[in-house]
Structure formats: structure tokens, C-alpha cells
Amino acid sequence: MPNVLDRFLISVDRHPDRPALWADGRELSYAELHRRAAELAAAIGPAPAGGGCCAIFACRSVSAYAGILGALLAGWTYMPLNPRFPEARNRRMVASSEASVMVVDTRCLEPARLVLAQCSPGLRVVLADLTTPPAWASAESPHHFVTAGAVGSGPAPLPRPFADDALAYLLFTSGSTGEPKGVGVTHANLAAYIEAVTDRYRPTPEDRFSQMFDLTFDLAMHDLFVCWSAAACLYVIPEDQLMAPDRFVREHALTVWFSVPSAAGILKRLKRLKPACFPSLRWSLFCGEPLPTGLAGDWCAAAPNSTVENLYGPTEATIAFTVFRFVPDDPAAEDFPVVPLGLPLPGQELLVVDERCSPLADGMEGELCLGGTQVTPGYWHNPELTADRFVAIAAEGRHCRRWYRTGDLARLDAKVGYVFLGRVDRQVKIRGFRVELQEIEAVLRRAAGTELVAVLTSPPGEVAASSVVAFICGGAIATDAVLNACREALPDYMVPAAIHPIDEMPRNFNGKIDYKALTQYFFAKGNG
């Protein structure tokens, strides 16, 4: 099965003059994007024999996308950073990934400077958009700086033959211990996903894909590699227009939309999701959080020439794992408040198990497990957590023996496939981002100097919410200082919208925090 780099290079070979990327207000052909990627590959340098990690500190620029391709061309695993993340979080990701190379674009120069100042010495830093390094990247710096142009373009490096189990990318997600956890996705995992979805959606060189997701969100990998597999063009929606991208979609006649449902919800709340406002779209794909049935119906009216599908899947099982095609007024699906998860992509399997990981009969409610070629090897440098979540289960009627326990509650419905019912733990989605509430609580404990902290989604009890609120018990709490500490440690979507000092933390009979009672307290105070 061809890997994503093979697929890109085939598109370069067959369609060198077709547009591959629209970013920074300009369009690059496949030949131009390949040339830029090859320049960066030369500046990055070849990966060591056992592989290595190349951090991409670039955002929505040509260099961001060429940097990913350049890292792959040079044989590296890439690990995206995010300028919207606090410096401490990006620094921890660099340290944990053991990245030895970093590609930086102009937008990320300042956040990169802050991160590099605290990193272990010896990083090779490729300044992708500069011809001369800035003053802070002087000879006294503990890192080695290279400007992309200084290396010269030269002949394009030949793609390295990747082993199937080599990691294509490494992403970090929220971790319940208070530290982000890494998930490595192999070339075989990614190839299996791309094969399945290109077969399903049949993209062509005429297609124009939206690119809205941050590169630290694995759904971005769908945008890049499904698009480039088809020799289509990837349209990077400018950051300024992400809150209302409707005009951009119309101006560029995009044909493929892929976003979290919250993005559609914002358009609706701003009254910009109007009937037939997206006539050019032929596919409308949603993933990352539950898709409300009413919103899916509104989208169908807004994009009358497109097919709407709801995808579902965690990073640990490579981008998306199941799919459900939404049809307005479908009697089988209209009674569900959120669009069903549907059925697995070809070659993948689902299983519902009880608390002891014993398989349950079809139709029973339990924890959803995923098995197949998209299931990743496990957590980066974390064998204990890997052993806990990636388990061996022998189930009658299933080929897979190794399963990923998602923590999602689901059941199989005879008419619509699998249906999402909630979580077995405290993982939530905030604006589509996956968040372990315990990670926020760990930061609050450090900042407030007390163990008695608790975090709820806002509104409470929602698995998919827009923000979180915090409760801190005891004495005079310097809420501004605590909030600032959160902003220094957490991405903006994880920073509590409000901190409520409380006199006493409600507890259940086991002495643990009683989140249900806390929710009632929240509503009793006139919130929500």
C-alpha cells in the first residue's frame, strides 16, 4: 500500500502544473510545492538510521505544509507545535518527542525563540522563511540555525523507503495525569486510512479542499493527504476568516468541507448559514465532537449539492474510524439528538465490551473498542498507559485480537450502526478539542496551592461543550493569578472561563469529589 509521501510524489509526477496549495494568499503548483519541500528537506538533513523526530513550528503558511513534506522526504517523523499553545506546553512537547530538528516559519519566530531558550542544546533549527538568521540566533546560541535558502535547492532528495511501522507523525493530546500524552501514528496506519477514504470520497484533481484545523489536530492530516493523494488543491483558510469562512468557501468555490461541528454552529449563530449558501460543496464532513441532528439538517440546506457525513475516531486509531451518511428526514436517524457514529471504515472492526473487557452482545451498551490496521502502536514512551488502553480481546465473529479502548460509551443500533452514548471517564470535547478535565485540575492545584479543586464543562454535564468552569475551595483565592497560571500552562480552550471560590467541596460517600452535587450547586447559583 503506498504511503502518503508516495501518493504525493505520484501527484507531482502526473500533475506538476496543477495547483496543490493555496496559502499566504498565493497558489503553488505540485511542482512548486515539491521544490519547496525538497529545499526544506535539504535544510533539515537526513534522518538518522533509526528514525527521528522533526518539530514543525509553523502555522498556516506555505512553509508549514512544505515543512511537513520536507520532513517526510528527509525520512523524519514530524511533530507539529502550535503558536497558540503556551510556551511551556510546546517546550514539553519538544522535550518529550526528543525532537532534534525544528522547522520554523515567520509567524512562529517569536514563540520559537521562547521555546528554544529553554530547550536542551543542540537542536538544528531551520528558519524556513529567512535568508539571514535573527540576532537571537547568534553563534552564542546553544542551537544550530540554518536558513532554508542557504542550503540551496539542488536536486530533490529521493524519498526514503519507510518501514510500515515507522512513525509518520507524533501528536500530543490532553492527558489525565496533567501531562499531554504522545500518540505516534505509523505510515501503515495512515496509509490504511487514506486508502479507505480516497476510495469512499473519490476526490479528483478538480477538487478544492478546505483546511481549517490546526496542524496539532489530527484531522488536519486528512485534509493534507487525502487532497494531495488526488492531485487536488488544499485551501488554507486565513486565520482572520476562520470564525466566518463562508465568503472564502464561496469565493474559492471549495468542493470539500471538513470541520468540527462547532464551526458550523458558529456560522449558524452568526446567521451566516443560509439556504444554498454553499452551492459548490460536494462533500461536507464533520468530525471531532457529536454532530447535533438539527445542525446537520441546517447544513444540508446550506450545501444542497453536497453529501453530509459524520466521522468519528480518536487519534489513537488514526483520524477517523467510523462514518455515517446523514440524509435529512431519514426516519432511521431523525430520533437521535446527535448524528450516529455509523459503521467502521473498510478493514476496521468495532466491539462493545463491559467493565471487565468482556465482549457484549450486539445492541448492548458498553465501552467501544476499535481494532484493525488504523489502530496505532500505543502511547509514546508510556508502556503502562499503552497496556491499559490497548488490550487483547478474543471476540467471536471478529478477526482483530488487539483493541483500543476508547472510553466512549456506545451501542449497536440495527438501523443506523453504532450510536454514541457518552463517556466512561471525564474526557470531554471543548470546541472539538479533546480534553481530560484532570489535566486542568492538575494545573489549578499547583496554581492555587490546594488539592480541593474541580472542573466542570460549561454547560455542566455536556460531553461536547464550549468552555470549562473551575471551583476552588478554601480561603481567599487570587483568581486572577490562578487564571494567569492556567494561561501559561494550557491552550486557550482549556483555560477556565470562570473560577468559583467555594467554602466546601461536595463529596460522595467514598470521600471523592461529588461532581453531580457540584453541577447542582452551579445551577443553583443561577449559572448555565
Binding site: 497558540r84 486565520e239 482572520d240 476568516q241 476562520l242 470564525m243 466566518a244 465568503r247 462547532s262 464551526a263 458558529i266 449563530r269 452568526l270 446567521k271 451566516r272 443560509k274 470546541r431 464550549s466 468552555s467 487564571l483 494567569n484 494561561r487 501559561e488 486557550d492 480552550y493
Partner: protein, 86 residues
Amino acid sequence: MDVAASIEQAILDRLAKAAGAAGKTPNPDSNIMHYIDSYAFLEMILDLTERFGIDIDLSEAETEEMIFVSRLARLIAAQVTPGEMP
């Protein structure tokens, strides 16, 4: 303080809160999206709707009208009918 100035100050307060300890100080020419993301933008609009009692309509607004503090404040203020604001 006139309506546009009140709305502008409310937007600046919201951005300053988001900037927190980062050291950035928003001003009337600031690009809102350099301080908050699209979700926080929507929340801010909903807050302004509630606080000023205005039915804010951005359905036809140009991007440039929405992303700069003073232009957004003027756009919203223009939607206030006399005597409507509390």
C-alpha cells in the same frame, strides 16, 4: 461615552482578559483574532448582545468589519436604534 465607545471598551476589556499575563495590550486598531479564537469571538458577540440588549446581526458583515476592534464596535453601534440601549 457614546454607544460605539462603550462597545469598543467592552471588546477591549474582553481581549485584555484573554491576553492575561502574555503582555499584549489591545487597542482600537487591534486585530481581534490575534487575541481570541473563533469560538471566543462568538461568545464575545453573545455577551455583547446580552449586555447591551442589541440583536447583533453579522450575517452580511465583511471580514474586515468584524476583526478590528473599532470597526466591529462601529458596526454593532450602527445597529442600535435610538433609545434601545439600556
